[in-house]
């Protein structure tokens, strides 16, 4: 399986400003001046090997949208935040003449940042395209219809020309989609959210965003560890610092990098991926958080366990499992 991140930002999209870009260019040029670069290859190598990611790239600003590519002819997407516009623009590898893919969307919950990209999801406008929207909330269809209605958006839901089906999932049962076994788990978030565990051919992807964790509840933590067990990648809502999550922003429905690392280590996860980034955090802040999270994983690693791989998702990141 492959995982492609089309939107990784939490709560609201966050674009780079002209000043942000200028700052990156300035830092890159300052470093480049000392290098004596003479060829395009030198420039590419310098960008790829010498510049920090926060200078050469960006974590991106689109809200949640993650593609799970399990092979086959159909698509699986987790959430349709603003990142789905990028997916529909650049990611339709399985679409085109003579092809008839199904677009399967799994919705964690219907808060705005997780569905706000759907009005810009081009396949929804294409006659005959098949869109299946899976979710555990009774309000799933209502939320999409409301978004596609006056005064929110000029195109009414019933005017969309694709075939759109809403599929209510039972979180207590396993489901099979595109040859992938999918399980859902209710999470602690205003109005509830649901994490999804995707399994195929011995590979496991867990998408667990918009979830707060009650550290004092042994039963809740044990359930989470079971849901995350042996995941090849755990995509985890690490929006806040631990201090924020247990003080000012307690009950705001989001978790932290430290809690994620501890849960991942208990569950035997291989790759822990920070997700749903705080929009206030710029690229330098994000890079600092990644480094700190790696360090905490070292400090908290249980004896006789394999080192946890730690990364922060960015818009455009691909992970091959």
């Amino acid at each position: 399986m492959q995982v492609r991140f089309w939107g990784t930002r939490g709560s609201i999209s966050a674009s780079l400003s002209a000043a942000d870009v200028r700052g990156k260019v300035r830092r890159a040029l300052q470093q480049a001046l000392a290098q004596g670069l003479t060829s395009a290859d030198d420039v590419d190598a310098f960008i790829d090997n010498e510049l920090a990611f926060a200078v050469a790239g960006t974590y991106g600003g689109n809200t949640s949208c993650v593609e799970i590519d399990a092979g086959g002819d159909d698509y699986i997407l987790c959430d349709v935040g603003t990142g789905v516009r990028e997916f529909a623009t650049r990611g339709l590898r399985k679409s085109g003449p003579g092809r008839d893919p199904v677009y399967n969307v799994f919705v964690s919950h219907v808060h705005w940042d997780h569905i706000m990209g759907f009005p810009f999801f081009i396949p929804a406008y294409i006659p005959g395209a098949k869109v299946r929207i899976h979710g555990c909330h009774e309000t799933l269809e209502q939320a999409f219809r409301t978004q596609h209605s006056d005064p929110n958006f000029p195109v009414q839901f019933d005017d969309l020309m694709s075939s759109i089906e809403f599929i209510q999932l039972d979180p207590d049962q396993a489901h099979s989609v595109c040859g992938v076994t999918v399980r859902a788990m209710k999470q602690r978030h205003a109005g509830d959210s649901f994490g999804y565990r995707f399994e195929k051919d011995g590979k496991v992807v867990v998408y667990a965003t918009d979830s707060e964790h009650d550290l004092g509840s042994t039963a809740e933590i044990d359930d989470l560890v079971g849901f995350f067990a042996d995941a090849d990648i755990l995509i985890f809502d690490a929006m806040y610092s631990l201090a924020e999550a247990v003080s000012l922003k307690e009950d705001w429905g989001h978790s932290s990098n430290m809690v994620g690392v501890e849960l991942a280590q208990r569950a035997g996860v291989k790759h822990f991926c920070l997700f749903h980034h705080e929009p206030l955090n710029d690229d330098d802040a994000m890079s600092e958080i990644v480094q700190e999270t790696r360090r905490f994983a070292e400090l908290s690693q249980p004896e006789d366990t394999v080192e946890l791989q730690v990364s922060a998702a960015y818009d455009g990141m691909e992970v091959v499992l």
């Binding site: 610092s241 631990l242 201090a243 003080s247 400090l299």
Partner: protein, 119 residues
């Protein structure tokens, strides 16, 4: 990495000094929090403040940090002080990573914390 923790509680004038020694983690945090809250209730029912002497703490997990936040909130609500002193280098790192160094009153030494209480 077995988790062992002992917690000494002593009264120095108006100040309750809590001195944990060992790891405050998933295995030990519940007992640590129970001891902490016993001391906090005595302070709230009587008088004084609390200082945690962390010189002997080798590691603290998110659950342990949560205990500190609960204790700090309780005492602040009662207009009492909650200070931590003498972090070991690893615990200091964890405080920075968690950003607890921005929300908890941390002092370099126990003496510094005691002085801060009277100043």
């Amino acid at each position: 990495m077995s988790s062992e923790l002992t917690v000494d509680v002593a009264r120095k004038g108006e100040v309750t000094v809590v001195s944990p020694v060992g790891r405050i983690d998933q295995e030990t945090a519940a007992d640590f929090q129970a001891t902490l809250m016993d001391g906090i209730r005595e302070i709230i029912d009587g008088d004084g403040h609390m200082v945690l002497n962390f010189a002997g703490v080798a590691f603290i997990s998110s659950l342990g940090l949560r205990s500190l936040m609960i204790g700090a909130k309780e005492l602040r609500a009662a207009d009492r002080k909650f200070l931590i002193a003498d972090l070991t280098p690893i615990v200091q790192e964890v405080f920075q990573i968690s950003r607890f160094d921005r929300v908890i009153d941390v002092h370099d030494t126990l003496d510094d914390a005691m002085v801060a209480l009277v100043s």
